[in-house]
Structures are given as C-alpha cells and as structure tokens.
C-alpha cells in the first residue's frame, strides 16, 4: 500500500510516497509565509506531484508542538502566521479528502532513524536535529514518547544557566538560542557589526544579506574564521550539556544527531558533541553512542509516511 509522508519545515515542504521501505516518489516545495491556508495549499500541490493514489493516507511531520489526538498544531514558532492553536490535520484532511495524521517533525524524523537509519536496534533513542532551530524526538522502550501535552522531546528548549540569549519561543537561555543555526547567524551578524569592538567574520561576507546557510558555516570553519569557531565551540558545549542531561534523566543507549547544520559540518562535529556528552555523564562507562543520523534530508518525510502505521 502506498503511504505519503510530508515534512513541513520552516523553509521547505518535503514529500515522499512510499511502499513499505521503498520510496516511489519525491517532491519538494518552498514553505509559504502567507499563513495557514497558503501552507495547506502548498501541501496539496506537493502531494499532487507525488502521483500517488488519491486514497493514500498522509502523515505530516510539522515544526511545532502537536496534539496528535486531534492533529492540532498548538505552537509553531518557525511557521509564519501559525499563531495560537491551528486545527491543521482536519484542515488538510478536508483539502486532500483522505486520512491525515500529524506529529512533530522531529518526532517523525527520529521515528525514521529508529526504523531504518542510525537508530536501528536501539531501544532507547534520542534524535537531535540541528538546523534553523533545534528539534528533538525521544524513543523510550521502543515507542515514541509524546507526553501528556504532546511536547516531549523538545530538546531545543531545554534550559541552560549562564546565558541571556533570547530563544525563538520567547524564553531566555534555551539550547536553541545558543546552538540553532538562526541564533548563531544572528549572533555572528551582531559581532560583525558591533560598533567600536566589531569582529569581522567571513560568515557575513559569504552570506551577504541572504540567509546564512549551513554551507556558509562549513566554509568559514574550513577557512579558519575565528567567530564561527567560537560560536560552534559554544554550541558543542551547550549540546553536550543538554544531551548528557537527557541521557542522565531517562537513561539512553543511543543518540543520533542530524539536521541541516550537522550534515554540512559532517561527522567530526557529531564526534565533538559525543566527547562533550561523555565528559558530563553520570556513568562515564555508559555504552551510550552519539552517531550522525543516516537518512539525511528525507528522514522527516520517511517517518511521516510511517505515522499511519502507528
């Protein structure tokens, strides 16, 4: 049976059509910034391009906190115009005239890594997605943990002390405010432009006025740029601290790290995070491994396609 998976991110919508483990179609469209209706329309376009049977069930992984019972998006700071709860699943089901299941984008990505990627075989798995923001998903005893409010796994909003940087969610001192791509971009631009004590950085020179893509971070790092190096050092410490805390709280045997920035920076970045985690664990002999995610950009959509099986 064909199932459709949609990964609804802050910048793009990735769709796949799958038949069991096989991918039989792929399509990608930009995420519109015109609000809920425009996003529903864009997903309808994306699904049409997949050329799947009209009755195929659709799973959506969306960037935000999801009430999976009702398909409501409770909070989605990275989607423009999604203020307050949005009954996204029902709206999309009506537009597509088929069964729609909605979950958090990081949850579906960790589901895919658990079923067919770097998390295969792990009974207790944390997925960490370092991209524009930082998402996370948690598998405990083989099952996706959602929690009573549907917000479990949101590792990007775990708290750190000793920082005053503002998070996209409006709170101060969350991981995402230190180690998310957008937060590091803002900090790099601030340091570059600071009057009297500015530190010119290749990051801003390469990106210009455009969005500072993950590839800019990788290029600036290769060129020995001091600012990117400092920002990533801080990000590694923050990620290591939070992942170690997560591993200590729930006890884990594996962590996979993916997302646009982690992919561009490659396995050495994930290796540095593993070292930072290990130096903070309560049980230093823990068999915990921190591995690069293996399904790349398609993880979210692949996991979303499995939602109708759950």
């Amino acid at each position: 049976m064909v199932a459709i998976g949609i990964d609804l991110g802050g910048t793009k919508i990735q769709g796949v059509a799958t038949k069991g483990d096989e991918v039989v179609g792929e399509a990608k469209v930009a995420t519109p910034t015109g609000g809920v209706e425009a996003v529903v329309e864009a997903i309808v376009t994306c699904v049409a391009r997949l050329d799947a049977p009209a009755s195929a069930p659709v799973g959506v992984g969306a960037a935000g906190v999801v009430d999976t019972e009702t398909g409501t998006l409770l909070q989605a700071p990275n989607l423009a115009g999604f203020d307050g709860p949005v009954p996204f699943g029902p709206l999309l089901a009506e537009a597509l005239d088929t069964r729609v299941t909605v979950d958090n984008d990081a949850n579906v990505a960790v589901l895919a890594e658990h079923l067919m990627g770097a998390g295969r075989g792990a009974n207790d798995l944390l997925g960490v997605w370092v991209g524009t923001g930082i998402g996370g998903g948690l598998i405990l005893d083989g099952c996706l943990r959602r929690g009573p409010g549907g917000g479990a796994g949101e590792i990007g909003h775990m708290a750190l002390v000793g920082t005053t940087r503002m998070c996209t969610c409006g709170m101060v001192g969350h991981l995402e405010a230190i180690a998310g791509r957008a937060a590091m971009e803002a900090e790099a631009r601030r340091r570059h432009a600071a009057i009297s004590a500015g530190t010119p950085t290749l990051m801003v020179e390469l990106a210009g006025d455009k969005r500072m893509k993950s590839s800019v971070f990788a290029k600036a790092l290769d060129a020995g740029d001091a600012v990117v190096s400092e920002l990533l050092d801080e990000a590694v410490v923050a990620l290591g601290t939070v992942i170690a805390s997560a591993a200590t709280l729930v006890d884990l045997d594996r962590v996979v790290v993916g997302g646009g920035l982690a992919e561009k920076l490659g396995p050495s970045f994930v290796g540095r995070i593993e070292q930072a985690v290990r130096s903070r664990l309560f049980v230093p002999t823990s068999p915990l491994r921190v591995l690069p995610a293996s399904l790349g950009d398609l993880a979210g959509a692949l996991g979303a396609a499995r939602l109708s099986d759950l």
Copy 2:
C-alpha cells in the same frame, strides 16, 4: 500480608513494616561507614527490630545506581566502602533468608509519593529529593522509568554549563554540586574561611565542626545571613533550570520536591523552585505543578515496601 521496606541512605537506615497502606512497625539505625558487610549487618538489626514475620519480603531503596534485575549496586558514591559493583540484594537475601528486591532510594521514594503522597493521580511525575545529595525518580505513563542501565531519574547529575564546581561523582558542573546540602556546606565553609576575602557566615558559626544540618540552613536564612541566601538563590536557579529541562524533554504534569533540606526550608522553598521552573518552560501555559512531597522521611521506606508488588 506484611512487607518490609528499608531506605538505605548515606547517614541512616530507615525501616518500616507495612500491611497494605498501614504502617505496622518502624525502626531506624545509623548507616555504618565500615563497608558492605557492616551495612548488611545493620539492616539485619533494623529488620529484627520491626518484629515482622521472618518470611516477609524485603524491599530496599539504596542510595546509588542499581541493577534491579540482579539487585547489584553499580555505583553508590554516598555509601562508604561501596566501590565498584556490589551484589547487595543477594548478600542481604542470604543474611535475612527471605526474598529481597533492591532499587534506587529516590526511585522508591517517588513510587511512594505516586501511590500515596503528593504525586497521587499524576500519570507523569518527577520526584526530586534535595538532601545531602540530590536524588530523583521518574514515573512515565504510570510506571517507574529505570532505563537500560538502571540509572534513569538521576536528576542530581544532570549537567549545567557555567560552573566549575566538582560533583561527588567526580564530574564537573552537575546539579548536585550546586544544590546538594553537602556541596553547599563545603562552599559555605570555603567562603567563610577564605583568606583576605572571607565572608563570615552564621552557617559555620551554628554548625561548628559538625555536619551542617538542614536546620542550620533554615536558621541562618531566618536570621538574614547573606551567604546562605546567595547559596540558596543559586540552588533555586539550578534546580529550576534542570527541572524545567526535564519537563521539556519528557513532558510532565507534576513534580514533587522533598528531601531533608527541602523539608526544613518548607513550602516557600518549593514555591520558589516552581517559579524558577515556570520561567524556563517551553510551554509556559503548561499545567505542570511543582509541589512539596507529603510523606516526609518515610517516603523511601514506604516505597521500598511496595517493591515486592511490582
């Protein structure tokens, strides 16, 4: 049927005999510092004083990381002479000639608060015990979470950035190194005695050369002592940060805070922690409550007595 519960802490061994929810016997002995054999002997003495049937099953909550399958104490930094894994359950079962079940002391305390205390009715509950060290226990979907290595819930060893204080476990920057009673005692003595820039504190004057009990913290705070006030402010921030992170990671509907220090400082201390948690949550409208534990000193032993039912 009578069941026996033993709470094996760093300073005392608390025993209860129970019949369902009713307590039919209590006994308390000091924890010997002479190593494993002496502790087994002390528990045998404590059990004898409970005057229960010889065949009554015994549950033990022990301060440390426990392999609950085998009853092995893997790590117990607060018990003198317990270096490396100790087959504590089998040793005690032999000495008592009855069935013995061992779990972490914080786990059994949260089990008791969940079954009959301030955590009653909560499906997802974190227990935080602020005493000599900081213990924790986690109930997810109504069940005690142990995790693959048996170390789940060890919130005292969740990591913080921006601190260099050494934890009892040998790592740097864990919660217990900021907010545990023993860590705060050490820091108060350091500040009091610091050459040239020392800050005299009532805490040291009240405690003298003896262990700085929790009641000393409460008295110094009432008297307006600046050092205790600073140390507790730091502890509240650290506890708030870590509890908020835990709530964000797994999604919780209740947290109970107990332990010797929390009890002596009273509900206002727990109220301050709740405020600190709330200001760091990803979902500020979360129904999460942070409440004082309600079973006091007996929580551990009462929960241990329930282990044979699990």
